[in-house]
């Protein structure tokens, strides 16, 4: 499944958070979405999921807006903010409601809980979860509908090294299964080891859209390449 952005633009008052992004995110690889804090990554992802309305342009999934899917979880799994869960609800109940909303059988909830290693804490209130457990619950939700597209916003933020390794492996595995994996990060080192393909933005504008190898070629590291690419554009 393909994610297409067509001249996608979002302004918040005087701030242009996303500025005319025109791109395609393809299946079968991990597409890293790289840019400094405030570059517009989260806003772009929110527009893909129909949470923010674009000022102009469109974001489409296989040619259709997210909101046009009746059971979107079967198409797109997403993790934007791990803390977007009611703290008083248990992780399992959160997922049960989520499954019910998209006609996903309840047994799938226990499968994904098992897959993310949260079975033991599933019946505890999510407010008591650590950052890493919250992130795992979010990932469980993203996998619930077994979707061909997975969108993750800064998934390694606040995770311990084990968690980081785990998410990295998970994303590589999902892409290897032929899914579209779109993951944002402001961490160059993370993108260097996770992504096959990079989309780099700064101040809402596209800076680069190329395979990782191509971007790094001729530089000592992604970091060097990145600073050369973004020279001037990211300074505020």
């Amino acid at each position: 499944m393909l994610i297409t952005l067509e001249k996608l633009t979002k302004r918040f008052g005087p701030v242009t958070a996303v500025d005319g992004l025109d791109l395609e995110i393809r299946p079968g690889r991990v597409t890293g979405f790289l840019g400094p804090n405030g570059a517009g990554k989260s806003t772009t992802m929110r527009m893909i999921l129909g949470l923010d309305r674009p000022t102009s342009g469109r974001a489409l999934l296989n040619g259709r807006p997210y909101c046009s899917y009746g059971k979107p979880l079967l198409k797109v799994g997403s993790l934007l903010e791990a803390k977007a869960v009611h703290p008083g609800r248990t992780g399992r109940n959160h997922l049960l409601a989520m499954a019910r909303s998209n006609g996903i059988p309840a047994r799938r909830v226990d499968e994904v809980l098992e897959a993310v290693g949260l079975t033991g804490a599933a019946r505890k209130r999510s407010g008591s979860y650590s950052m890493g457990m919250g992130q795992r619950l979010g990932i469980a939700g993203a996998l619930l509908g077994d979707p061909p597209v997975v969108i993750l916003d800064e998934p390694v933020n606040g995770l311990d090294p084990d968690g980081v390794r785990w998410i990295r492996g998970l994303m590589r595995g999902l892409a290897a299964e032929g899914r579209t994996v779109f993951v944002s990060s402001h961490l160059l080192s993370e993108m260097q080891v996770t992504a096959d393909h990079l989309i780099v933005i700064g101040r809402g504008r596209l800076i680069a859209d190329a395979p990782l190898d191509e971007i790094v070629a001729g530089h000592a590291s992604l970091e060097d390449a990145y600073y050369q690419l973004t020279e001037g554009t990211t300074l505020r």
């Binding site: 929110r46 999921l49 129909g50 949470l51 923010d52 309305r53 997210y66 909101c67 899917y69 009746g70 059971k71 979107p72 979880l73 797109v76 997403s78 934007l80 903010e81 803390k83 977007a84 869960v85 009611h86 703290p87 008083g88 609800r89 248990t90 109940n93 959160h94 049960l96 409601a97 989520m98 019910r100 909303s101 998209n102 006609g103 939700g141």
Partner: protein, 240 residues
């Protein structure tokens, strides 16, 4: 239709899986029982306005003045807690149609407030009956009316919650509309102001509860529908 049923199912699970709902319902029942007991004693002492005509049903309606606050809090939290906890972004990624989400929440809240409202009405009348010297007795009609009144107030609260998003502002507006403003309007006893007060949801609902006023029921229904429509509009328009 199946999508709406799925959304209602999800909202149903969400409603019963936080503690808020239990606290609110316990509070509602306690307030109902305590209020009914108190008014039953007033009735025995001849301290009520409708001297001599008080029944267990009318006593329960009076007690509802307190108990409805717990129902209002419950109903408005179903919507506003989505925004205060940030859950709304998750919810909308499961149910991207905002109209469908609001409809599902209204349906769940209306169903729960109706059924628990009837139970509270029966419980209030039962407490009153056990204490009253005369006028006691089971009053199912009044209990059903209380359920209907609370279901409509519930929809009003959900609609306002969707429109305002913040729990505090929503509760303040709700309390103004239902409880606070009408008495202020009625104090000077000027026909125009009394007329306006009659058109407010709390007073209109009260006429329906006490006198079976169909006009009162229609006015209350209009408020609930208007709030839901306004809530839907603002929910669609603004970013989540």
């Amino acid at each position: 239709m199946t999508l709406l049923r799925a959304a209602i199912g999800a909202e149903w699970i969400k409603l019963w899986t936080t503690r808020t709902v239990w606290w609110a319902l316990v509070a509602a029942l306690v307030l109902m029982a305590a209020g009914s007991g108190q008014y039953a004693l007033y009735a025995n002492n001849g301290d009520l306005d409708d001297q001599g005509t008080a029944t267990a049903g009318t006593v329960a309606v009076m007690a509802l003045g307190f108990a409805q606050l717990a129902f209002l809090a419950l109903a408005m939290l179903v919507m506003t807690s989505e925004f205060s906890t940030g859950t709304i972004r998750a919810t909308l990624s499961w149910i991207p149609s905002r109209g469908r989400l609001l409809l599902a929440k209204c349906a769940v809240v209306a169903a729960v407030t109706f059924v628990t409202g009837v139970v509270a009405g029966v419980a209030g009348a039962a407490v009153a009956t056990s204490l009253m010297d005369s006028g006691g007795g089971l009053d199912l009609t009044t209990a059903a009316k209380i359920g209907l009144y609370l279901a409509l107030l519930g929809v009003l609260a959900v609609g306002l919650g969707a429109a305002f998003r913040g729990p505090v502002v929503t509760l303040v507006v709700l309390l103004m509309l239902v409880v606070a403003v009408p008495p202020l309007l009625q104090v000077p006893d000027i026909a125009v102001l009394n007329g306006i007060a009659d058109a407010m949801p709390g007073v209109a609902g009260d006429h329906f509860l006490r006198d079976g006023s169909v006009v009162g029921l229609l006015i209350l229904t209009a408020w609930a529908v208007a709030a839901a429509v306004a809530g839907r509009m603002l929910l669609m328009k603004k970013d989540a």
